[in-house]
Symmetry: C2
Subunit: 721 residues, 2 copies
């Protein structure tokens, strides 16, 4: 039997293999048997992270609600199924949602007067965790509570609350949020559905006038929804008062009501536990009182009134309720990134491939520089995003709990959510895809979670505000603020100011001045590297870029208001990419600031030291990504720029020993990952294989490697010459 | 009835909306009714593309085989199903493969002596097209013909061909390619499976000695395979001769044979039409003659012989057969990118969102600068990749048809395939994901193809050689060539040479010299922009970067051979990211060169002019991606670098009018796209909606927009003051 034993892995260069066949050095199994499966490399580092303390900081104000959410998402009863039909998945998801409702899910969002806790922040914190159970369950909950119930709560008034809220929260009344149309997703104000008031019967007539006005992509529409909140153009007495929201019954006793046509959206890229569909209305009549009338009402005779005189401002106020979706999807996406990185980094710390310098052990994937470079910058950005998300949740809570509900806070909340939702959702897709590839073929198996996370999270970049559209909003807000900052000045001052800024910027475009300046910046690599670790310099670089870009864009667009409409539109369009880049530059500032704030909360010295390196990695890879901008605008000397990649490489090796702790601090366990590859199975297999080869080396009748004989032969021939 | 008509879309600023309500300007419907649905913007361009001529050039030498492949992939009978269980999909895919076999699919790969056409290039050209039918069908065909049959053909000898090839080609004998193990994917030489020769019975004993040595991810393993070609360590007379390939029966009459254990890999991220699984062997005996013995044989008494003395070279020769997979998957991935961009660009040319400057028409997505910037650089890179793929196919054909099968050509083919497969597969994932997002919610519907393409193509980045592992091979080859180029010199010369190169490079690190030089480079923006269009300058920049990186990396690693093994390994590892970047820089050179060669074949002047712009876009976005490198190394002046983004912006608007022609030239039609959103449906809906609003504006009893009243009111109040 022993003669069947194969030789040690022969992937190493032949001389190492020869060495291996005759050596009895330490073997991989011993190194990797104790959890966590850290490599023996890089353990010269004295810092050890206080994982629990770090989790507490990451969990923030609503740690208890998060814990509740995580407890539910660890329960196999709510786990995303594999290999089921969409029909089964849909039915299962409805049942699971009912089970959540029994546990008073989302009751925290209601004000105390309606039997809730008035804890909108806590409600979202728990909701964000549902993504770890099954994103379909999360989004179905989001449709029911975050959209349907919230529309009734925020756009409706007392009678609506009384009639429908309790039934909605208990899931006796599964609902549909009918805003998007085939023809209009991002441009909500342009929806085609009409709600014409008929004073004779005191009814609204809900109607879909053409195919593109059909409501689409609506969760609960294909099967489960009993009623919908429908966004339509309110027309009364010959005037169109813009988009308003109406409560419209859709099904009764399982039957679709007359005048309503339903189509099933069918199979999607993911989230197949949700029955998305289309709804068209053919002159469907609802009572006048089904108008959710908080921001606009119609009297029996058809007279329209609103507490908000400006139709534009009224429309945007009604849309503010959408911000809840953006805030919570941003948080959910970060959690998805945390799950993916947790799986990939854990697997990477156990999986071995290709012999190391001894020719005996194989190298742990995470010890490869490339593997670190693929995963750690994403880990750093995920930390930054998590800290920023906590701030966003605070901002949301302040407004929605009424703690501090001012117009200014609402506007800031809108902007912050519009900035962070794109960042978080793209980060998630990037982290998931990188993790999938970093896990190789194993990453492609559905049981290892990553492909399912990609499928489900993909659409997070589009729904509740397409990422690029949101970034445009952010960019426009930045331009507006810049313009406001000039408002105190009179016309002459503004002209002078603009001219002087234009000169400054144009000076930046000329490399001479700045470059000669930056020459004095050159010193030893060590000195310049050290200064890039200076958090003030990092923040100055990243925020200067954001500010300069707003300024430059404003200057580029300054003629637009004086131009004919067509030319102005063309000018603005020709700077659209800049506008988006400007918004993204602003997001980097938000993230770095949040990371620094988060860091300030860490008291444990050793943990702090590791997080400082992670922050440095975030800041420096962010600067590196835009390095050409810093060079072109003279903010970094060429000499200093050259030190950046070496410095990043050193950070990677310093973060390496703490990688498992850093993902553990996210608070997810095996129960959340549910991925066999990161369960320890891989380590067991490695131990078993290493034991096998150890026995084999120890035996005396193992086959010898032909390579050894071949080499010996060559040497003999050489000697004979 | 007419009073139910809603107003024009009110997404425009309120003053435009007012204008819209009273204007009777031209409407979108008129603009968009004629195919192709081009915008009225940017049609001042005189060039018109000769689409057919361009397709001919893209299709290259094997145009007929491509046409055959495209005809099959347009047939609904082979279309990727939606919303079926993996069981149904697997059964369906097997039946479809049998249907292909009836049509003599892949017979072209066989030499004339075995009844084929000896047209390996043509065979792959057709195979690459199958991705448009269903990637599961493609990969199942790849397993059967490209791997299983090819192993018998290339690693076996006459008797094997006689016994198994015909049955394999007819699918009477569905086969499994059992190379990868749970524990070893990329490091094939280290597989744990053993094949011990027993001279008493003249049999090999195939055995899986530990769990990690279980064969995994094998297509046809879970259900359909009757036999496998198994890669195992060949041991005879106490010597391990390394990895060889054995023909091992797996199932007979539907029953798994004794000693063989099968596990199903279950649901995967995609390619669920293939029954991937695991196989473990418990001392399974096969006749001596089941060794595929072209490169190594065992005599009845156990004596091993091989035509290739070096075990290392023998191993790599046996692996050469893998190159076919890399070549063809690269081509398939490019085709997938072409499909995705075809769908997204067509939809983008019909879909409208947000009112334009008139307040009446909505803007076609593809007229937004951002939309162009998201899609066109990918379109340009796809053209570059397609031209490069044709060269790769030629290189493959030369070697595999025997036309010009030299060691050098084999090595070049290996390197080129290792370079292009990662590029093409990542390009596909990027193009598919960008297209998905660019199509918004519609892009997430399975019926619109994009999500399915992502699911299936995802693993193309991993199988047949993980992309990063392949890039490492490319990087190492580049280092080797650089070392070879020094070989003519004696030791002293090399030292002198290295020192002088080191000085040159270190001079580049000091910004002074180059910068003062580049100052003379500064001129008017127009002049510098024009010179960036110079194809020689583009190629010089891109190839200089590739060369400098090899040089710099060589210098960084030059001490490694003199170091102790552990330190040498650490040094090499600390430059792994550079090694990968060096390989990628080399790929850019390959692509640009291929684009220029492709361009040289275009005779039609107008087509040429458009393709020149597309080539410029490819070259300039490639340079822009690495702009900081060019700046840090003094290859571009800051002034010239500043002109880059404006120049790219202008190229986008110039390519815009030809975007539909450029995707049409890929040769795919509606039958291949099979995506309702790009079928013209969207345009019909837009026309219908526009007609509705036109009637509405023409009628006299349409409701007036409250915004208009509100504005009028404000003005009245102002006048009253």
């Amino acid at each position: 039997m022993t003669t069947t034993l194969p030789p040690v892995p022969s992937g190493a260069p032949s001389d190492s293999a020869a060495f291996a066949a005759h050596s009895a050095g330490p073997i991989a199994a011993n190194e990797s048997s104790g959890p966590p499966a850290e490599s023996h490399l890089h353990v010269d580092d004295a810092h050890h992270i206080d994982v629990k303390g770090l989790t507490k900081i990451l969990d923030g104000r609503w740690a208890e609600m998060r814990a509740w959410g995580r407890q539910i998402s660890a329960d196999p009863a709510f786990a995303r199924p594999m290999d089921v039909s969409k029909e089964e998945h849909r039915a299962m998801t409805l049942e699971r949602l009912k089970e959540l409702a029994k546990r008073n899910w989302s009751a925290q969002m209601l004000p105390e007067s309606l039997g809730g806790d008035n804890d909108p922040g806590g409600n979202l914190a728990a909701f964000e965790e549902l993504v770890a159970a099954d994103p379909s369950l999360q989004i179905k909950a989001g449709v029911q509570f975050g959209l349907f119930a919230s529309a009734i709560l925020h756009l409706g008034t007392e009678e609506h609350h009384r009639k429908w809220l309790a039934k909605t929260m208990s899931l006796e009344l599964p609902g549909i949020y009918a805003m998007t149309e085939i023809g209009h997703g991002s441009d909500v104000s342009a929806v085609g559905t009409t709600a014409l008031y008929d004073a004779d019967t005191e009814e609204f007539i809900i109607h879909t006038p053409f195919r593109a006005a059909t409501k689409d992509y609506l969760g609960n529409a294909a099967l489960h929804g009993h009623a919908a909140v429908v966004f339509a153009q309110l027309i009364s007495k010959g005037v169109n008062h813009g988009v308003h929201c109406f409560f419209v019954p859709i099904r009764e006793n399982g039957e679709v009501l007359p005048g309503i046509s339903i189509e099933d959206d069918g199979q999607k890229g993911g989230l197949n536990g949700i029955d998305n569909g289309r709804i068209a209305f053919d002159h469907v009549r609802v009572p006048r009182t089904n108008l959710l009338n908080r921001y606009g009402d119609v009297a029996p005779d058809g007279t329209y009134t609103s507490p908000i005189a400006s139709p534009g401002r009224r429309f945007f106020t009604m849309l503010t309720t959408l911000v809840q979706g953006r805030v919570s999807l941003s948080g959910a996406a970060i959690n998805a990134a945390e799950l993916a990185l947790g799986i990939a980094i854990t697997y990477g710390s156990q999986r071995r491939q290709f012999a190391d310098f001894t020719g005996i052990n194989e190298v742990v994937l995470l010890d490869y520089q490339l593997h670190q470079r693929r995963l750690f910058p994403l880990l750093a950005r995920t930390y930054a995003a998590a800290f920023a998300q906590e701030n966003l949740l605070h901002a949301f809570h302040e407004v929605f709990s009424g703690e501090n509900d001012t117009d200014e806070n609402r506007e800031d909340l809108e902007t912050l959510a519009a900035a962070l939702k794109p960042n978080s959702t793209w980060l998630a897709l990037d982290a998931i895809q990188t993790s999938r590839e970093a896990c190789g073929g194993a990453g492609y198996m559905a049981e290892n979670r990553l492909v399912g996370l990609h499928d489900d999270l993909d659409i997070y970049a589009t729904f509740e505000g397409d990422n690029h559209i949101l970034l445009q909003l952010v960019g426009k807000r930045l331009l507006g603020e810049y313009a406001n900052s000039l408002k105190g000045m009179d016309a002459g001052d503004v002209t002078k100011f603009i001219t002087s800024r234009a000169e400054t910027i144009s000076a930046r475009h000329t490399p001479w001045r700045r470059l000669l300046q930056s020459a004095s910046d050159l010193g030893s690599v060590r000195r310049t590297a050290a200064s890039l670790r200076d958090p003030d310099l990092q923040l100055e670089l990243i925020s200067t870029r954001a500010e300069s870009m707003v300024e430059e864009l404003s200057l580029n667009l300054r003629q637009a208001p004086n131009m004919p409409k067509e030319k102005a539109a063309a000018l603005v369009n020709s700077h659209q990419v800049e506008l988006i880049e400007t918004a993204k530059a602003h997001i980097d500032v938000i993230l770095l600031t949040a990371f620094n704030e988060g860091l300030a909360k860490v008291e444990d010295e050793a943990t702090r030291a590791v997080l400082v390196r992670l922050r440095d990695l975030f800041a420096l890879t962010t600067i590196e990504r835009e390095l050409s901008w810093y060079l072109m605008n003279g903010h970094l000397s060429l000499g200093r720029a050259r030190t950046l990649s070496d410095y990043i490489a050193r950070l990677l090796t310093k973060i390496r020993p703490h990688a498992l702790d850093l993902v553990a601090a996210f608070g997810y366990t095996q129960e959340h990952w549910r991925a066999p590859i990161s369960s320890g199975l891989e380590r067991e297999r490695q131990v078993q294989a290493a034991e096998y080869y150890r026995h084999h080396r120890a035996s005396n009748n193992a086959p010898i490697d032909e390579k050894v004989l071949y080499k010996r032969n060559l040497e003999t021939k050489k000697r004979m010459k």
